[in-house]
Symmetry: C2
Subunit: 323 residues, 2 copies
């Protein structure tokens, strides 16, 4: 019987799930709306039902080796989601325990960026690498750090919150969803890019097509499109975003000395726009002993499915037969 892992990527808007085989092929996939479920118990029941239906509708039966779940603030030690800024559930959600009431399979929960890092290691550009990091740029900024071939979890399972390192200390700086001020993700993320653009629009008197769009309506894609069309303020917003990211990635290297850092997620699809200033600032800010040794790369995964692929990779990495 064909073996598959069930990968689940829980995002603020949608949750993706898929059966993925050892080679990273999707056998089936589905989606449900996270934001429609204010109660986690109801969400988990719906999720389990989706998975069962997905299995039932397969042309051939499969053996499910286990479940890997990537979620913001997912805790590997406890199988919980703890105080996520971007999900409808507050406090601590015992996700693995809730899911086990419906499905009797081994379950791993970790944060979405850790899942992306394992995905990169199993299926992407980090194959064969032992020390690397993945930065996910979406609504927020996530990070997964791999040391000696294993995810860096730290004492409580919460290592790798680079989005919440502080770049501009003090209450006069940008407010973060975490309750503090000046966190990296308030500058470097889809939302951070937009905030930077609004700051630039407030400082400058130069014209921009984006001055016709409201904050709530605007997406990072709008800013990328405007930049591609030559909009000066939009280009400057990407420039500033990349500079700040490059600077803090040099700090990441000074902590963990990886072989490579991969940028992953929606914002990196605008490749030249974000990669170019990031790479420049990164190399400018690296300590000399690291220069020429640490690569800064776009993720080797297809971004559309890569979050759920990472979640499945997590299950393969942990529950699969070792190759």
């Amino acid at each position: 019987m064909k073996k598959v892992a069930l990968g689940i990527d829980i995002g603020g808007t949608n949750t993706d799930l898929a059966f993925v085989d050892r080679d990273g092929s999707f056998i089936a996939d589905d989606r449900l709306s996270t934001s429609s479920f204010p109660q986690p118990e109801v969400f988990v029941a719906a999720l389990a039902e989706k998975a069962k239906l997905m299995r039932k509708n397969l042309a051939e039966p499969v053996e499910i080796i286990g479940i890997g779940i990537g979620a913001p603030m997912g805790n590997i030690n406890k199988g919980t989601i703890e105080e996520p800024a971007d999900l409808p559930w507050k406090g601590i959600t015992p996700l693995a325990d809730l899911l086990r009431e419906h499905i009797d399979l081994p379950i791993l929960v970790t944060n979405d960026a850790n899942a992306a890092a394992v995905g990169e290691m199993v299926y992407g550009g980090a194959k064969g690498m032992k020390n690397f990091a993945v930065i996910t740029l979406g609504t927020g900024l996530g990070s997964g750090i791999v040391v000696d071939g294993k995810l860096l979890y730290g004492q409580d399972g919460f290592a790798g919150e680079v989005g919440h390192t502080i770049v501009r200390p003090g209450r006069s700086n940008r407010e973060c969803g975490c309750g503090r001020f000046g966190c990296l993700e308030t500058y470097v993320s889809a939302t951070g890019l937009k905030r930077t653009l609004f700051k630039i629009m407030s400082d400058s008197i130069e014209d921009s097509e984006l001055r016709d769009m409201s904050f709530n309506k605007m997406t990072s894609l709008d800013i990328a499109d405007a930049a591609e069309r030559g909009d000066v303020l939009a280009k400057r917003a990407f420039e500033h975003t990349g500079e700040m990211l490059g600077l803090k990635l040099a700090d990441l290297v000074a902590h963990t000395n990886p072989e490579a850092i991969f940028l992953f997620g929606g914002l990196t699809l605008a490749k030249g726009l974000i990669m170019e200033p990031t790479v420049r600032a990164f190399h400018e800010n690296l300590l000399s002993i690291y220069r020429g040794k640490v690569k800064l790369l776009a993720s080797g995964l297809n971004s559309k499915n890569s979050a759920v692929l990472g979640a499945a990779a997590l299950a393969w990495d942990q529950f699969g037969d070792k190759k």
Copy 2:
């Protein structure tokens, strides 16, 4: 026959060496002046001779299990010292290879802060801990990070250069010995404390006993003594130093989620002066998921001998019989 490790701590001014037994007792110790040896080959020959004499003069013969060396920019993979800012030797010094020409024993070289971290783990306050960091505050700021009971080395052996994370980016900020600007150690170290005091003296018109002392003559101990006597500017310099350290230690936690961080070295002897503002800023800047979970502590080692004790611990950790 009694087993000992030979621990060697190479500092910018002096090099300490000692035979240390499994329990951390010093069987013999000696010192030579690092700065008197512009040629590393001559330094190593003198060092080897010192060790041989030290052994010869022992009341009872010992078996040396191996040599652990802590040195600024010591590289574990290659046994080299690479581009140290504070040593007389420029470029790359093949320290282990040079020493092997004189002594036929297993040799480990790592940076001094990594050695301090192993010392803390084997003999100090980190006994039994799996995830912690040690920050050494001396002329510069060093750091050793332990993950899952092992030193975090990263891809090239240079993980843990927290002193060279950047707190104030841009050329208008403090110049660092590494050639860049705004590195943490330009603010938080014995030298950084003095630079901060001189900045405060330049900004303020308040009186201070330290206004009678030159930059070159002043040490961090003078500033600590003045602060203890109530000197307002000296106290403010410690305050600022601790605030910046606490802020960046919160960043360290966001990378590696340790159970504890230990502060080690000369500057921490002025305990209340540096610990109090550091602890306050640290807890203020921690992301909520870490709050109440990460301890910030003074090193559990006696500071006078602890660097060389750490170097010996490195040898015990690697070459000793496992307890």
